[in-house]
């Protein structure tokens, strides 16, 4: 018997899962993950308001077009100092475009942007000295060794980290003498991360930093990010790994078709925190499941029906991946605001499906 597994039993779930995440657009109360965070659902500040000069990143009405197609179409976002913000979204959603506008690489076609209080289109050397950038496309090829590359990069900054320490942090100590271009794909990506943090940035951009990392390297990276957070580093992270967003981010934003569909703490995205639980078990050789807002009472009731253990009992709530997939599939054409997946009549769900 598996109780309290936070995942939807894949096969058994069958038709029950669709019912789990109703399509209604109700508002919902967010559950806090971290006591520093606000309890209300924040879709950043509304359009039209002024950018927040105290925020690490403040964006109002950002528009970026390629040809006559808008890759980013009226994005509003505030990221507080010290926060880890994860930007999620399917391929082509506009994550890299947004991040590179914030980094000063791409010109925007509209909107107001402040990064550490400065318009990125006009950011100078002192501004860049406070940023760490890990590009999705990497840092290029080189004949220099890992240590030489980090030493050179460190020499551009006022108070760099020790290159040897940085190599240790990303797990490249054994490759210190290896030339950049002889590294494996995952090692190269670690080098990109190392180059991004060696300047001791106050704000770190990470565009899909863990692509190609093996599982152990990913855990090591998570630990690194947490220790950077403890030092007060603000981070904007894009990723396709939802477990990564959930493990690291204070808040996540889902970008779909150039707009933010929702911004929330990971535990509450898409009404996850208050979505009904799914209780599944086997009865008379048939897999059964039920949605309920009161799983404890339901299981107690269920337990009374069986003489011993309830066969194959699981209690599950929607994972971040479940709500995310729902959300990006649901954003109406042309964007729209919160496609928040609210809860729908929790008490209704006592019905049993098979």
């Amino acid at each position: 018997m598996v109780v309290g597994r936070w995942g939807i039993p894949s096969v058994a779930a069958g038709g029950g899962v669709d019912a789990l995440l109703p399509t209604g657009r109700g508002h919902c109360v967010l559950v806090q993950k971290d006591s520093l965070l606000p309890t209300t659902r924040t879709l950043a500040a509304g359009p039209g308001s002024e950018p927040d000069p105290d925020a690490a990143i403040s964006v109002r009405g950002l528009v970026k077009r390629y040809g006559d197609r808008a890759a980013v179409d009226g994005l509003d976002l505030d990221i507080r100092r010290g926060e880890i913000f994860a930007l999620l979204g399917p391929n082509g959603a506009g994550k890299t475009t947004t991040v590179e506008v914030l980094e000063g690489y791409r010109k925007r076609d509209g909107g107001d942007v402040r990064v550490l209080g400065v318009d990125p289109a006009r950011g100078g050397r002192r501004w860049r000295a406070q940023l760490g950038i890990v590009l999705q496309s990497g840092a290029g090829d080189s004949q220099l060794s890992v240590r030489e590359l980090l030493k050179a990069r460190a020499s551009y900054y006022a108070e760099p980290r020790d290159p040897d320490e940085v190599m240790e942090l990303v797990g490249l100590t054994a490759e210190a003498g290896a030339r950049g271009r002889t590294l494996s794909g995952g090692q190269r990506r670690r080098l990109d991360v190392a180059l991004g943090i060696v300047g001791r940035p106050r704000l770190l951009f990470l565009d899909e930093p863990t692509t190609g990392f093996d599982p152990e390297a990913r855990r090591q990276f998570w630990a690194l990010i947490r220790s950077l957070r403890d030092l007060g580093t603000t981070m904007l992270l894009t990723t396709h790994y939802l477990d990564e967003a959930e493990a690291l981010a204070d808040r996540v934003g889902v970008l779909a078709r150039g707009q933010l569909a929702e911004v929330a703490v990971p535990a509450a995205l898409g009404g996850r925190g208050t979505a009904p639980a799914v209780v599944s078990w086997t009865e008379d050789g048939v897999r059964r499941s039920a949605e309920t807002a009161t799983p404890t009472a339901f299981v107690r009731e269920l337990a009374a029906r069986f003489p011993g253990e309830v066969p194959d009992l699981t209690v599950a709530r929607p994972t971040l991946e479940d709500v995310y997939l729902k959300m990006i599939g649901q954003v109406p054409e042309g964007g729209g605001t919160a496609a928040a997946v609210g809860r729908r009549g929790a008490e209704r769900s006592q019905g049993v499906s098979s």
Binding site: G67, I133, Y156, R179, G199
Partner: protein
């Protein structure tokens, strides 16, 4: 505003960053076997190859190797500066090296300073190698007296013009691949019409006029004044070495190149 950013230590001085960049650029060049062979060894092979095949007397006691020294040194300088810059900067732009650097507080001037040091080092090494081979294999006569001075300023000015031109060309190339495929043939054609591989008076008149637009012709002409006796000045288009014009044209190319660089330089391949 209430943003009270903690005071940060001053950024490192420009000179120190330039030194770092110089070190980086030297390692990048000399550790890459293809670029070393292509840039440094190719002119030597050219000198040995053509020197062995072509064996005619140009008058005034000048044999082909003596005449060819100026041409092959020109080819060496163009390879170290124009081709090197055009191909490698285009490559660095395509593979993301430049974009990554742009995201750091490294001043752009330090990047270019590093490239200048690289070009100087490669050009000096190439010239030294060619002169050494010329003396040891063909017993060519070395320049004497003030010819050394002319040698120095013509080489430096020519390398500077070609470096700037190379940076501009790197920006014209669509990407690193297309740069390495197109730059070398174009450079060879320009060298050909500039009288690098044969006596300039054997180049058809209208081609001489075309060549006179580019700096390579003037670089080669200046170097001929260094390696050839003054008697041969009569075979130049103007009947003299025209050192004043050499300085003027190369200087103008430097100014034009600098302006074009400043206007056109990009840190990443063109956005869609």
């Amino acid at each position: 505003m209430t943003t009270t950013a903690p005071e940060r230590a001053a950024l490192p001085p420009l000179g120190r960053v330039c030194l770092t960049r110089a070190g980086v650029e030297l390692k990048e060049f000399f550790r890459q076997r293809e670029s070393v062979v292509f840039t440094l060894v190719f002119p030597v092979i050219l000198l040995l190859g053509l020197g062995a095949v072509l064996d005619y007397d140009l008058g005034a006691g000048v044999d082909f190797p003596q005449y060819f020294m100026a041409g092959v040194i020109t080819a060496g300088i163009v390879g170290a500066s124009l081709q090197n810059m055009a191909i490698h900067i285009a490559g660095e732009r395509s593979d993301g090296t430049l974009k990554s650097l742009r995201g750091t507080p490294m001043p752009a001037s330090a990047y270019f300073a590093g490239k200048v040091v690289q070009v100087l080092a490669v050009a000096v090494a190439t010239i030294a190698l060619l002169v050494l081979v010329g003396v040891l294999v063909y017993g060519i006569d070395l320049p004497s007296g003030t010819d050394w001075l002319t040698f120095a300023w013509v080489s430096v000015l020519g390398a500077a013009a070609c470096t700037l031109l190379g940076i501009v060309v790197s920006t014209l190339a669509r990407n690193g691949r297309s740069a390495s495929a197109t730059v070398t043939p174009i450079a060879l054609v320009i060298e050909f019409v500039s009288g690098v591989f044969m006596p300039f008076d054997q180049v058809p008149g209208w081609l001489q006029d075309v060549a006179a637009v580019f700096p390579v012709k003037w670089l080669a002409q200046g170097l001929r004044s260094v390696f050839l006796p003054d008697a041969l000045a009569a075979r130049e288009p103007a009947g003299s070495w025209e050192l004043g014009t050499v300085a003027l044209v190369l200087g103008l190319w430097c100014v034009a190149g600098l302006v074009l660089c400043a206007v056109t330089f990009r840190w990443q391949d063109r956005e869609g």
